[in-house]
Homo-oligomer: 745 residues x 2
Amino acid sequence: MAKVSNKYLEVDPYLIIEKGFHQDRHQVSESIFSLSNEYVGVRGFFEEDISLPHLIGTYFNGVIEVGTDLGAPHYKGVVNKTHFTLNSVNFLKCHIDALGETLDLCKVSFDNYLETLDMRSGLLKREFVWNVKDIHIYVSFERLLDMERCKHAYQRITFRSDKDVELTLSMSLDFGIVHWGKTCYWNDISVIEKDDIHGVSSKTITTNQEIISLQRITPRLNNVKTSNKELDEYGTLKLTANKDMVISKHIFNHVVDGDYNIKEFVKELKDDDTIDQAILRNKEYFRKVYERSDIIIEGSDLDQQGIRYCIFQLEQTYHGYSKNNNIGAKGLTGEAYSGHAFWDSETYCLPYYLFSNQASAKNLLMFRYETLGFAKERAKDLDCEGACYPIATRNGEEACTLWQHASCQIQPTTAVGYAIFHYMNIYHDDEFMKKYGLEMILEICKFLLTRGQYNMDNTYFGYYGVMGPDEFQLMVNHNTYTNYMGKKMFEYLFTLLDNPKYHNPELLKKCGYTDELLKRMRDASDKMLILYDDKTKLFEQHDGYYKLPHIDIHSIPVTDFPLYSHWSYDRIYRNDIIKQPDVLMFMFLYPSDFTYEQKKANYEYYEPRCIHESSLSPSIHSIFASELGKEDEALNFFNFATRLDLDDYNRNTCEGLHMTSIAAAWMNIVYGFLGLRSDKEQIELNPTLPKRWNKYRVNLYYQNRIIKSEVNKDYLNIDVIGESITLKIYGKDVRIDKNLRIKRS
Amino acid sequence: MAKVSNKYLEVDPYLIIEKGFHQDRHQVSESIFSLSNEYVGVRGFFEEDISLPHLIGTYFNGVIEVGTDLGAPHYKGVVNKTHFTLNSVNFLKCHIDALGETLDLCKVSFDNYLETLDMRSGLLKREFVWNVKDIHIYVSFERLLDMERCKHAYQRITFRSDKDVELTLSMSLDFGIVHWGKTCYWNDISVIEKDDIHGVSSKTITTNQEIISLQRITPRLNNVKTSNKELDEYGTLKLTANKDMVISKHIFNHVVDGDYNIKEFVKELKDDDTIDQAILRNKEYFRKVYERSDIIIEGSDLDQQGIRYCIFQLEQTYHGYSKNNNIGAKGLTGEAYSGHAFWDSETYCLPYYLFSNQASAKNLLMFRYETLGFAKERAKDLDCEGACYPIATRNGEEACTLWQHASCQIQPTTAVGYAIFHYMNIYHDDEFMKKYGLEMILEICKFLLTRGQYNMDNTYFGYYGVMGPDEFQLMVNHNTYTNYMGKKMFEYLFTLLDNPKYHNPELLKKCGYTDELLKRMRDASDKMLILYDDKTKLFEQHDGYYKLPHIDIHSIPVTDFPLYSHWSYDRIYRNDIIKQPDVLMFMFLYPSDFTYEQKKANYEYYEPRCIHESSLSPSIHSIFASELGKEDEALNFFNFATRLDLDDYNRNTCEGLHMTSIAAAWMNIVYGFLGLRSDKEQIELNPTLPKRWNKYRVNLYYQNRIIKSEVNKDYLNIDVIGESITLKIYGKDVRIDKNLRIKRS
C-alpha cells in the first residue's frame, strides 16, 4: 500500500512555489496556499474569475451554523443535530476586464504564471502576464492576514502593461457564499458607507451570528453597487505603458460578540497602515516563531520545506489567540470535517504548543474548561456523571451523529486529562491546576467511574461497549487503551488529591465527591482489567482480539483502499486489521511506563496488522521504530509525513489541509528522531539521525528558555538560551549551559 | 415489570364492542376496529368529522413511497433510502349537518353510543342517537371490505329521527391524506364520471403508483364538487319521523398494475350487489376460516375473545391473496414500522398459515422467491455472495437505515431457509422445492458461507460482528443462534443435495456451486462453533456473554421501561440483559434437537435475564414453561398474549395492531398448551390445560384434513375430518381416525 506523491511544487526552504498554472491541481493549490491567523482562514482561491471547480472558502473561527434534524432515530444519547464552521464572506473577490476580455485563466492567454507563499511573512503572491490581443499585462495579486492585528487583512493588485490600455476592476465583499456547495446560510446584507470606506454586514440564518466586513480601496474606485448579498466597488483603470498601477485594499473584519461602534472600525482603516507595514509585522512574528520552534534539516530539501510548512500552518491555524478557539482537523482551510476539533488537539497538536508557547498550550486546555458545561450535559445524556468530552465539536457540544463514535469512544475525555497532566509536567502551573485543571480532572474521573462497569462477578472493572483509538474495532469490551487511560486518570487524580497544594474540599463538594465515591474510584482503579501477558510482553488490544479472524493486510488489493470507501461497513470490523495505533498509542503517551522489551514486542505484533487508514498513524509507528533502533522502518513511516499535503499523498488535499497530521509530522521528528520524552517532570532526549539527513537542528521552547539541539553523524550539540537546565540525555542527567557536545550513542 | 391492562371494551366471543364513546381511547379504537382484506386495510377512523387527534389511515398493500436521503453517511452497505406503505385515499369520508350543527361527537350531544365489530362477517357498525335541539336522530355507520372480491368495499349509513328533519350529507373520496402527519404524497386527482358513478384517481409523487377509487351512492346525492385532492357528492336528505333513511355506498378500488378499462370497473359497481350480499359472502368466508383454524376456550371469556380476535385479524391482514404481499408488523392498521415485514413473518406468522391454508403459507414463501433478486443485490452490497434477506421491507429491498440491524442481523435470511424447511415438513411439496425452494436455499447458504469467517488459526467457523434475535447484544461474535441456524441451513442443503429428487446440476451451476464451494461449505459447517457446555447443558448466547456485567432486572425501576426510550442507547448493550429469546429461540425452532434437561437449563438461565422488550418474547417463554411443566409461569407469560391490543397493554395500540404478536399468541396456545411440534415430518402434540380454562378446542388444518383437538381436565379428545393419520401424542404414535379419547399424561 505504498502511497505515491503527486508532486508539482518547487522546493525551497522558506517558499511554497507553484511555477506554471496547474489547472488539474487547482483545488489542491487552493488548500495549500491557505492563509490563516486563527481569527479567520482563507483558502488560496483566486481573487478573479476562474472557470474551474473551486472552493471559495473563508472561515471565521467560531462562526457556525447548525445542521437540521438528520432523520436519525431519536435514541437517548444519540446526537441528531450537528453544527459546523460556516463558509463566510469572501472579502478578496475581484473581477477584471480588458478590451472586452474577462480575466479568467481558463479563458485567456497568459504566460509566466507563478504563485508564491512566503513562510517568513505569510504573504501570498500570484503573478502572470495576461496577453490581451497584442498587449501584455503583468498582473500580480498579493494578500496577507495580519498575524497579530488579526481582524486586518490586506490585498494588493499590481498591473503593468507594455502599451497603454484601459481596464475595469471591481473589488467586492460577497456574502453570497454557499456552504457544502449547496446552501447560502447568510441573510441579505446591510450596507455600511463612511467616506471612502464601504462595508457590509450579514447574519447567519439559524445561529444569528453577525460578521461585519469593511474595505478601503486606494486609490478609490469610483462606483459602488450592491445586491442582496454583495457589495462591489468598481471603476476604470487607465494603464500607462510600462508603469505600475497599484491598487491596495485594506480590509477590517469583525465577528460581532457584543456591542460595537462602527466608527471605531472605520478608524482602524484610516490609520494609513499598508500591506508593506503588515508584512514587516508578520515577518517579526514568524521570526520569533522560528526562533523558538524551528527545525532545520540538512540533506533533504524536501523534508526541510515540508517541516517548515507544517510549523507555518500550525502557527497560522492556532496560536492561542482565544481560549474559545481550537484546532479543526482541517484547520480553517476547508469544509470537510465541518471545522470540528477532535482528540487530535490534545494528543497530536498540544506537544507542539507545549514546546513553543505556554500561552497557546494553556489556551488549548482552557477551551475544554470553557466547554466543561457541555461535557457535563453530554455525560448526563449518556446516563453517566461527570464530564464526557465530545468526539467532534467546534463549540463544545457533541457534533458527531454517529453513536458508534460519539457514545463509544472515550478517548476525547481521557485526552483532556492527559493534556492537563502533560501541560503540568512541563510548566508546573499550580495556578492553572487549582483554578481549572483539578476541576476538569475531577469531572473526567467521575465520568470514567460511572461509564465503567464490573464484570459479572465483580472481580474486575473496565469499559464495555467501547471503540478505542483504533476505529476498526467497534463495540468491544476492555479495550486496553481505554482501560489503561482510565486507570492512569484515576491515579493522577489520587496523586493530586494527596498533594496539599491542591487541597480544596469546596471543589470536591461542588463536584459531588464523597469519601464513598473516592472509595469506589479506588476500587475501580485497583480492579481495572489490563489484558497483559508477561510471558509474551503483549497487551491484547481488547478482550477477544486474539481470537478474531486474521487478514494478511498485504493480501488486500490496493484498489480496496481506503477500506471505508470500498468495503461494506460491517466487514471492516470483523477481523484483526487495525486502522491506527491503539496499544501502541497508550505506550506512546506513557513511554516511561514500559520497557524496551514491551515496546518491541507490541510494536512487532501490532505493526503488521495496521493499515494506517488514519493519517495520524504512521508518525506514531515511526517514533517507536526510532526508539527500537529500526532505522529504516522509522524513516519509512516518516517518509512523506511532512509533505502529506504538499505532495497530496492522500489525494484529498483539495478538501483542506490535514492540520493534525501536520502536528504529527512535527512529533515524528521531535519525539521520534530527537527522542523527546515528556511524560515525566524531567524531559529526555535520545537523538538519532535519519539516514537521508546530514544533520538537523531543533529549537524547543521549554520553561522560559530555548533549547537548541543539533544532531549530526557523530554528535549532539546542545545549547540553551536562558538559564541552564538538567535534562536526561541518552539516559543520563546532563547539565546544559552553553554549547555542549555529546557523542551520540 | 408487570404490564397492566387498560380495558374498556365489552367481552363477547364473536364481537368486539365499545359501549359508550371513549374519547380518550379514540386512536386505540381506530386501531382495534381496523378492517382489512389484504388488498386494502382501513383503520377504524370515523367517517364523519371528529375534533380529536386521529389517524385516518387507508393502506393498499404494495402502494409505497420512498423516503428522501436521510443524511446518513454513505458507507457501503449502509442503507440511506427507505420506503414505506403509503396512507392512501379515504373512500369512507362523510360530512353531516343538521339544523346548523355539524355532526362531530366532540361537539354535539349524543346518547347510546355503540360500536361493534362482528368477527363472523367483518362488518363494523357504529351507532348512536344524535340530539339536535329537540330532535333525536339515530345514526348508524356500517362498513365492510369484501374478503374475496377484495377491490369492493361497502358503506351504509342509516338515519331515523323522531321528528321530520332535513340533513345534508356529503360522501367523499379524499386523496388529501397526509402521511406521518406531515406530507401528502398524492398528486392532484383526475375525476371520473360515468352515469351515477363518480370516481377519482391519483398518482404518488415519487413512485408514480396510481390508485383509482369509484363510488356509487344509492339513492343518489344530487351534487358533486371537486377540489385538487377530493371529490364530494352531497345533497339534502329529508327524514320523515320514525322512518329509516338508508344511504348505501358501494366502492370499487383499483391499484393500477397494467392496462385497464375504466368501463370494466364501472360495471363492477352496476351489478346490484349490496352490502347485505357482501355480509353473507364474508360470513361464509369466515365460517370456513374458523372451521379450519378456530380455537374455542371454555373458562375464560377474555381469552376466548382475545384469541378469536387474533385469528380474525391474521386472516384479514394476510391470507395469501398475492405472492407480492407480506405481513407488516402493524398489518395495514397504521404507519408505525412503515408497513414493513420482518423475520416475524416466517418465524411467528407462518405457523398459523401452515396449519390453516397451504396456499397462504406457500405465498408467504413465494414473496421471498419473488424478491430473491433484491436479496442477491443486498448480499453484494455487504461484500458477500448469495442472498441476504432484508431485516425490514415491503417490496424486497432493505429499508432499514440502521446498519447495526441491517448489516449485522442475519436471522431474516436463516428465517427464510427455516420457513422452507418448515413448509416442506408439513406439505412435502416437491414441486415447490424444485422450482423455488432449492434455489433459495442455495443462495441463502452461499450468503451464510461468505458472511462467515474462520477464527485466527482456522480451527472454527462462525459469524463475527452480528446481532442475534436478541437486539440488546450488538456486534457480538459467535452468537449461538446465528451459528446454530447457519449450521442447520448448511445441513439442510446437504440433505437436499443428497436427495435424488432434487438432482439439478443446472441450478447448481446457475447459483455458482462447484465442488470446491461445497467442500468449503462442508468444512464451515463441520467447524461451526457452537458454544455449549455439556456439564451445565448451557449454550452461551455469544462468545463472552458470561463475562458481561450482570444487572438484576428486578432492580431496574419500572419508570425506566422501555429501556430504548429511557436509557442511553449504548448503555442498553453493555450488560447481560436480554430483550428477547435468543438461545431459547433456536431451541424453539428445533425443539427435537434438544433434551428436556437442555431446555430446562437454558430456560432457567436466560429467562431471569430477559425483559421481554419485544412483544414477541413472552409467548416463546410460555411455550417452554409449558413443556417444562412450569404451569404457572406458562400461564403468566401467556397472560395477556391474546389481548395485547384489545386491552392496550403496551399503551401503543393507537399506532396500529401488533400483528405479529397476534400470531405469537396463536403459537402460544398451539405450540405451548397444545404442545405442537412441527420440526419433523411427523407432527407431535403434548397437550396441557392451563389452570384458568375448563377446556379448549383447537382446529388445525393439516395435509388436506382438519384435526380437531379438545383438551379438558382429564382427556385429549381428538377427531379428524378427512383421512386418518398417525400423529405422535405424548411421545407415542397414535393412529387417529375418528373421535379418539386419550387420557392426558
